[in-house]
């Protein structure tokens, strides 16, 4: 019997297990389709994108690396890229103001879906709060760029602002959110250090590796040629 863990389901999906595939699709179809529709707007095109996203996920399931993010993040990033590609092939449709407002509300509001509560705890949840705290124009610009796949140029056009202003809004908003995430990472490290000796949670034993490894490969911080671990 397949464990319900995201990773296990993805493994089963990638290896051609029909039951795992069906379960995987059921688990994520609303989120994949929802993101696709946020970007391409047209429902038929969104369906195409969502189907393609699952196909790509199957093809590349084995390349999923849990250290770089959760399964939904991985899958939704595939979806986002496909949707943006699809959008570029067509004339970009401006995001309807009411649609944008609804997206802002969803992205910043309390998520009512019980299944997502745990997953959104911590980083994503904090990001919601931080997004809600942004000045309206910055938030709109970031939602347009990050959830609707609009470039800075398109944001400038739809918002009726100069390109430089659009870029500044997106950049400023992203940096504010980045600070929030960085603070959370620092908290995690502190907690880990505090509970490290003798109190390690076996369920979290991969985390020190993640951090060390990340620091190893972090751009500009290490020349890894010839590096070995003890």
């Amino acid at each position: 019997m397949w464990a319900p863990a995201d990773d296990a389901l993805l493994d089963g999906f990638g290896t051609g297990d029909p039951q795992a595939a069906a379960a995987f699709i059921r688990r994520y179809q609303a989120r994949v389709y929802g993101l696709a529709q946020s970007i391409v707007i047209d429902p038929a095109l969104a369906e195409d994108v969502a189907q393609e996203a699952f196909t790509r996920a199957w093809r590349h399931a084995a390349t999923y690396d849990p250290r770089r993010g959760s399964v939904p993040t991985w899958l939704l990033t595939i979806t986002r890229n496909l949707a943006i590609d699809a959008l570029r092939l067509r004339r970009s449709v401006p995001v309807d103001p009411s649609t944008l407002a609804a997206l802002e509300l969803t992205a910043t509001g309390i998520d009512a879906e019980p299944g997502r509560a745990a997953e959104l705890a911590d980083h994503a949840d904090r990001l919601r709060v931080a997004l809600a705290a942004l000045p309206g124009p910055q938030r709109r610009a970031l939602v347009l760029a990050g959830l609707c796949g609009r470039t800075a140029k398109e944001v400038s056009e739809s918002e009726g602002i100069p390109l430089g202003t659009a870029k500044t809004r997106i950049r400023t908003a992203m940096h504010k959110l980045r600070v929030v995430l960085a603070d959370l990472d620092d908290d995690d490290e502190r907690n880990e250090a505090a509970g490290g000796a003798g109190g390690a949670d076996p369920e979290r034993q991969d985390e020190p590796i993640d951090q060390r490894d990340h620091s190893l490969v972090h751009p500009g911080t290490a020349d890894l040629s010839g590096t070995t671990e003890p």
Binding site: E47, H60, A62, L147, A152
Partner: protein, 311 residues
Amino acid sequence: MTTFGCDEFRDIAPDLALGLLAGNERGAAISHLATCGPCRSHLDGLVQVADYLVLLAPSVEPAIGFESRVMARLAADGAFAPAASGAGPTAATTGAAIGGASGTAAGGAAASGAGATGAPATTEAPITGTAATTEAPIGGTAASTGAAIGGARGRARRRWSRPVTVAVAAALVAVLGVSGVVAGFNRARDEGRAAAFGQEAHAARQLAAQAVVVWADAGKSTCQLVAFARKGSQPARLVIHLDEPTDPSDIYQVFAVPSDGGPAFLVGQVIVSDGQGTLSATLPNDAGLVDAVRVMEGPGDTKYRATFSPV
């Protein structure tokens, strides 16, 4: 190609992180990353924000029958094809099936990969310091292509032959340690783009990393993977060494994941005895490219994974 300075890069970095850049701008940006550590770090932070942002998108149920339509499409693509007889076990028993063709220039539409060209073209250094120093690292000559260790292109699709030594309960995934970035290389094809989670961040890491695949879980066990690209008539080679003092007797199966979307294939076993085990396997010269190598403890139970990500 246009090249960017730091100011220009940071001007477009949010678009890059959000997957919105295309064409020349993207190429120039990636090219800049190859030479600028601070900008890679900067981008890394933005990519993290972008990754979390997609989680905040609304859930919308697709039209009724979506699941069936996707399943039908997957079936048409061969996702559920029955296993080809004998394929996996053959590879496993010979231990000679992993192969990485790295030099083919085929896949590379290459435009965006400027950063990789030239940079990893050294031919002598091993991927880690622990192995022979006379062979080229994977990716060392692969600047214009996808990557690394290879599965044969055109090989019949097949399902993995699942190890029978591990209880199914082990499918509860326990990824004890994972890692793996090997060499800078460039693959500009669409599949690469779509498949690469956080691609830009990977690019940055790869370009800095060149190649290291060493895993460890909290000091208890380590796994080292050394991958050598094909060089002349010498086939590509993969060496995996496991050191597991706390689990002195175990058997792992090593799979390679072809870049062409084909199913992972078994390349050999690491038999751990007295806490240590080694697999050395060569890849046939007709092998295609490989995206990843997995060391599996059982079905759905990847213990170690090396991902060769596109830049």
